[in-house]
């Protein structure tokens, strides 16, 4: 099949795939970067929220028989609550502790949640039943020559873009968004303005986790594979995307996700698909070596 494609349509096809995948990375990366922005913590358990999102929707569809789209929305809401609980249980007691303590706790939460999923759902790879969404999802939505984009990809990309726009509006046009930016700049002064700093932090976790859970469902659909450790690799890649864009910067996370998704798919297509995961690590190492502040991040003095 591939031999039939000429060079330019191979490139375009990979670009389409890369953008779709990159959008999902961006959804996850936003969660890392927002939490880092407000409490300077790399929430390593964020990938597990993504994994839980994929499993929750799976259980809702297969065990409870909830229609897919309803399950999708419920999953997003539940993941938002998970984020709030995670912060409340694991990070809030450590708010004034050394940052390393919170970081280690984050890694601990990641391992805990992974194993919890292993206990509940087992280690076998699960997949969403094919009949849960209209068959049209797998059909091409548009095809130009040899290049095609399935309805699934259209769905993923529109959801991604839609929520990025919503996120942007929340951060820049609402009072709670302004408060989020204030808290990320100066917590004490925020408190002096009457801002409930902990409430703003909870809200940040909720938004980030909602988007992470959403990404979990989308990727579960796209690759048709759900397993307890799926959050680990996706988490690392999204973290790489956040670092690439500049940790703490939301537009940076979006851009970083897109660039990483395209780089990964191009690398897999042109070099070797075995290097798929390696490319993310290479990108992250290169960024840390040559431009630690990321593509559009600001200079930060301290490092985790």
């Amino acid at each position: 099949m591939e031999s039939l494609l000429d060079q330019s349509s191979l490139f375009l096809q990979q670009l389409v795939n890369g953008i779709t995948l990159g959008g999902v990375y961006a959804l996850i990366a936003v969660g890392y970067t927002m939490v880092y922005g407000v409490i300077q913590l790399i929430n390593f358990a964020h990938g597990e929220i993504y994994m839980l999102g994929a499993f929750l929707a799976y259980t809702m569809v297969t065990v409870l028989g909830i229609p897919f789209f309803a399950a999708f929305i419920l999953t997003i809401l539940i993941c938002a609550c998970f984020g709030i609980i995670l912060d409340f249980v694991a990070y809030r007691p450590l708010r004034n502790a050394p940052r390393l303590a919170a970081l280690i706790t984050a890694i601990g939460m990641s391992i805990f949640l992974q194993n919890l999923a292993l206990m509940i759902w087992g280690s076998q790879i699960k997949s969403y039943p094919r009949d849960m969404f209209p068959a049209i999802f797998l059909k091409p939505a548009l095809s130009i020559g040899e290049v095609s984009m399935t309805w699934m990809q259209v769905f993923m990309l529109s959801i991604t873009v839609l929520f990025m726009v919503i996120l942007h509006l929340i951060i820049h046009k609402t009072k709670i968004g302004t408060a989020m930016r204030a808290v990320s700049q100066d917590k004490t002064t925020s408190a002096l303005m009457g801002i409930g700093v902990n409430r703003v932090i909870s809200f940040t976790f909720a938004i980030g986790s909602a988007m992470g859970g959403m990404a979990g469902v989308l990727v579960g659909l796209y690759y048709n594979a759900i397993f307890p450790t799926m959050g680990y690799i996706a988490g690392i890649k999204a973290f790489a995307a956040a670092v690439l864009g500049g940790i703490g910067s939301v537009p940076g996370a979006m851009l970083g996700g897109g660039v990483l998704g395209i780089a990964e798919v191009m690398g897999a297509g042109y070099i070797s698909s075995e290097y798929r995961d390696g490319i993310s690590y290479a990108v992250m190492i290169a960024v840390i070596l040559f431009k630690p502040s990321g593509l559009i991040g600001r200079q930060i003095g301290e490092k985790v």
Binding site: T178, R181, Q185, S190, L192, M193, G194, I195, G196
Partner: protein, 233 residues
């Protein structure tokens, strides 16, 4: 209106406040003067609920507030302009002002307050879409005061409003503080610039190493030889 009784506070291992007692009368300007590190800012942070106290009471309008969260204290009308202005550098002037009114729900009245701040500080109107961090020191101080006023304070805590400002600007700021008092807001003014503060204030406390060592009418403090020697140079 505000009463501190035997307030003790520890900052890490330092005993920062050692039994501070003071009173701020309604619609007056009360000055808190003292050297660097005497505990002036710590006192204000304790009143605002940021700095925990280990013993003593802080009463506002008769109610103890020492256990309340900072936001609750703001809600009751105690608003602070912190030392060094602490403007949000990456938010616009307008966004800074909006946050000053964070706890207020009525949008129309908040918009009115914003118009009032622009009247009081025309320069802020000109700069309203600019990032807070791009303002000059004096402009930032004005923004910090305007931002606090957006919360409709009954008691305004001002921490070193003259710090790092040119004498002419200091005069301007002091004039604004007088105007705010004349509008019926009670003020607790912390200053190293004792001269400027006492000229403006009604009553004053001198604190040294976390203790009140002297209190009197502002005029009397200005003439007090001990104050003259130590703080008025």
């Amino acid at each position: 209106m505000l009463r501190l009784e035997d307030v003790d506070s520890h900052y890490r291992k330092i005993h920062a406040l050692k039994g501070i007692s003071l009173r701020v009368r309604e619609k007056s300007i009360c000055c808190l003067i003292g050297a660097n590190g005497a505990g002036k800012s710590t006192t204000l942070m304790a009143i605002s609920g940021i700095q925990p106290i280990s013993s003593g009471t802080i009463k506002f309008g008769g109610d103890p507030i020492q256990k309340l969260a900072p936001e609750e204290i703001v809600r009751r009308g105690v608003v602070q302009v912190p030392e060094g202005r602490r403007i949000f550098p990456d938010l616009t002037v307008k966004e800074n002002l909006v946050l000053g009114a964070y706890l207020r729900k009525e949008k129309r009245k908040v918009a009115e307050s914003m118009e009032n701040s622009f009247e009081l500080f025309p320069i802020l109107k000109e700069r309203r879409e600019q990032m807070g961090g791009t303002l000059s020191g004096g402009e930032q101080q004005m923004l910090a005061i305007a931002r606090a006023l957006m919360g409709i304070p009954r008691l305004l805590l001002l921490d070193e409003p003259s710090l790092g400002l040119a004498p002419l600007v200091v005069e301007q700021i002091m004039g604004i503080i007088r105007r705010i008092r004349d509008d019926g807001v009670t003020i607790l003014l912390v200053e190293q610039n004792a001269q400027a503060a006492l000229e403006l204030g009604d009553y004053g406390y001198v604190i040294e190493t976390g203790q009140v060592v002297l209190e009197d009418k502002a005029q009397a403090l200005l003439e007090n030889p001990r104050v003259k020697e130590a703080y008025l140079g």
